[in-house]
């Protein structure tokens, strides 16, 4: 029971831990008040993923993004510099960009027609006398920039807090894992066309936990694992020197990863019999390039390491049978919007890309053989929290007594929850 636990002296009281026990109050998944504090303490202050550099390959490219409850434009100007703007016309507020993506040297608001260069500068001329001559001397007619924008290893982030620490400091130990993903290909990585845009009728933190939950796979995903046995045509070729244990690593600042051997084929670069002898040669060639470019240890990590990475609070990069990049935001305590992308090496051969996307769809996404069952589990948890007055606490203690936590323990979730607790307490 809750009373048996120490409250963190500086915490919210909703996350309670002892040396061998860790519980989280179910009210954190249901209360509007908690969501407001998350908005103030987390989404208004943390670095949030806005997009991948490959989505803006050329100067003048733009995409429209919903990030942290804001509608944003992420773009490059004529010189190629990156920008993030609030997608609200300074005149009366209409959305300045209404397409999902495109390329344009300027943006024009459809309501009264104010125009802006793609560096945000107001660009409309009025007849003399319409406005004062020095109209916009304070910049009031320019698009409003998001206070902070920065990229690391091809991944771009925004921060709505002008005083936030630098992105690199924030990312802490997660930097190296972003680099591992970027290292998959000599010519860089790209987001594949097509976004899976869906929702889950559950609190966003349930998807945080689920995204790197090594414990549930055998129970929740039995039908996927049964499929896998047929589909891969024999065991995946594991790399013996990496061992066969998956572990969890706390990367600091609430970021964490689980990493270990993969039971499935990895387009980079773990062969399975279903890919045939030609496939074996192709995978060997990819591996050879990795080892030449990155050295043996890193090449093995890229090729044979299966990773579920969380960048606090809500960027998931799962480098598993394919690579998915996923963010999700609460609309309500019991409802989130999810966006999922596939990330792949630039210029990948067509049959490779197909193999990768097949791998992705077999497991991942709203039509996969696994994700719908995760959605069912999350929604089931959420519905059951109506019992929270009597059944009020989640247990997140698995493996606490182990010095080196395993991937099917819950140390990675505890890393998330401690940071959540610290930030939400401050926002009280």
């Amino acid at each position: 029971m809750a009373t048996a636990f120490e409250k963190h002296p500086t915490g919210t009281g909703w996350v309670v831990e002892d040396h061998d026990s860790f519980r989280v109050a179910r009210t954190t998944f249901t209360d509007q008040d908690v969501l407001e504090r998350e908005r103030g303490g987390i989404f208004d202050r943390c670095w949030l993923y806005i997009g991948h550099e490959s989505e803006l390959p050329n100067p003048n490219d733009f995409v429209r993004r919903s990030v942290g409850g804001r509608d944003l434009i992420f773009n490059r100007d004529r010189k190629g510099d990156y920008h993030a703007f609030f997608n609200s016309c300074p005149h009366r507020g209409a959305a300045v960009v209404r397409e999902d993506k495109g390329s344009s040297i300027s943006f024009k608001c459809f309501y009264h027609g104010w125009s802006f260069n793609n560096n945000g500068a107001f660009a409309t001329r009025f007849a003399a006398g319409t406005y004062p001559d020095d109209f916009n001397k304070d910049g009031c007619a320019n698009l409003v920039s998001v206070p902070r924008l920065a990229g690391y290893a091809g991944f771009w982030f925004v921060n709505f807090d002008a005083n936030a620490e630098s992105l690199e400091d924030y990312l802490a130990g997660a930097k190296d894992f972003l680099q591992v993903v970027a290292d998959h290909a000599a010519d860089g990585m790209e987001i594949v066309g097509g976004i899976q845009e869906y929702s889950v009728r559950a609190n966003w933190k349930l998807l945080v936990e689920n995204s790197f939950d090594g414990y549930h796979a055998h129970e929740t995903h039995s039908t996927y694992l049964e499929y896998l046995v047929d589909a891969i045509g024999g065991p995946a070729e594991l790399f013996p020197s990496r061992g066969n244990i998956s572990r969890a690593y706390d990367l600091g600042n609430g970021h964490a990863v689980i990493e270990g051997p993969a039971p499935w084929g990895r387009p980079v670069a773990q062969w399975i019999p279903a890919w045939g002898e030609d496939g074996r040669e192709e995978i060997a060639a990819i591996y050879a390039e990795l080892e030449k470019r990155l050295g043996k240890e890193r090449a093995e990590q890229v090729a044979y390491g299966n990773r579920n990475l969380l960048i606090f609070p809500n960027l998931v990069i799962n480098d598993i049978m394919a690579i998915t990049v996923r963010t999700f935001y609460p609309e309500q305590p019991d409802y989130m919007n999810v966006n999922s992308w596939a990330l792949a090496p630039k210029g990948e051969a067509r049959h490779f890309r197909k193999r990768r996307l097949d791998n992705f769809l077999e497991f991942l996404g709203p039509g996969g053989f696994a994700t719908p069952d995760d959605v069912e589990a999350l929604e089931s948890c959420q519905r059951s929290y109506r019992n929270r007055a009597a059944a009020g606490w989640n247990d997140i203690s698995r493996g606490m007594l182990r010095d080196e936590p395993l991937a099917d323990d819950e140390a990675q979730m505890r890393a998330f929850w401690r940071e959540w607790d610290r930030r939400v307490a401050k926002a009280g």
Binding site: I195, Y198, V200, T223, G365, P366, G367, F369
Partner: protein
């Protein structure tokens, strides 16, 4: 009860292009089999080697699953597994199974060449589970082969015309 024999175009039909009402009957049969969760019978409407795919919302009709992320891009092996899986209690999303109503309209034969037809139709599919009802809508393309023993689906592509899968969250049923 729906059986394959009730397909408008059944064994022994004589040559020529099926009429639209024969095609409609076939699509209505497909819809009924799905609503009755007769998934093996549904699968039997497909030719061996057939495909079933669902691009992401807002994709183009000619989207290519080798170069774009889809929601579903089943070759015949995955399609067979999808059916096997949906019959298992381990397919938690559909166990207990949801209730559905597949409605088909605006059926048109848009191409006919030899014994193959391309059919475009509009669908509205309701899915209800846990006291929540979701509505999927869009259009299907069925590529159909006319055989002596009836019609077979060579490929089915379901284009979702919602702007996103919100609030549905999944396409765990066959739309």
């Amino acid at each position: 009860m729906a059986t394959i024999e009730h397909a408008g175009v059944s064994a022994g039909r004589q040559g020529g292009t099926p009429t639209r009402s024969e095609i409609e009957d076939f699509l209505y049969l497909e819809a009924q089999l799905l609503d009755e969760w007769k998934l093996d019978e549904w699968l039997a409407l497909f030719a061996e080697g057939a495909t079933y795919d669902v691009p992401t919302t807002r994709a183009d009709d000619d989207a290519d699953s080798a170069d774009q992320l889809f929601l579903v891009a089943d070759d015949y092996a995955r399609l067979q597994h999808r059916v096997r899986r949906l019959k298992k209690p381990g397919a938690h999303s559909e166990w207990p199974r949801s209730r559905t109503a597949h409605s088909i309209s605006n059926v048109r034969i848009v191409e006919a060449e030899g014994d193959e037809l391309l059919i475009r139709s509009v669908f509205v599919t309701y899915r209800a589970k846990n006291d929540v009802t979701d509505c999927y809508f869009g259009h299907h393309f069925h590529r159909i082969r006319v055989q002596a023993d009836g019609l077979r689906i060579l490929s089915k592509r379901s284009m979702l015309d919602m702007s996103s899968l919100r609030p549905h969250g999944r396409v765990s049923i066959i739309v």
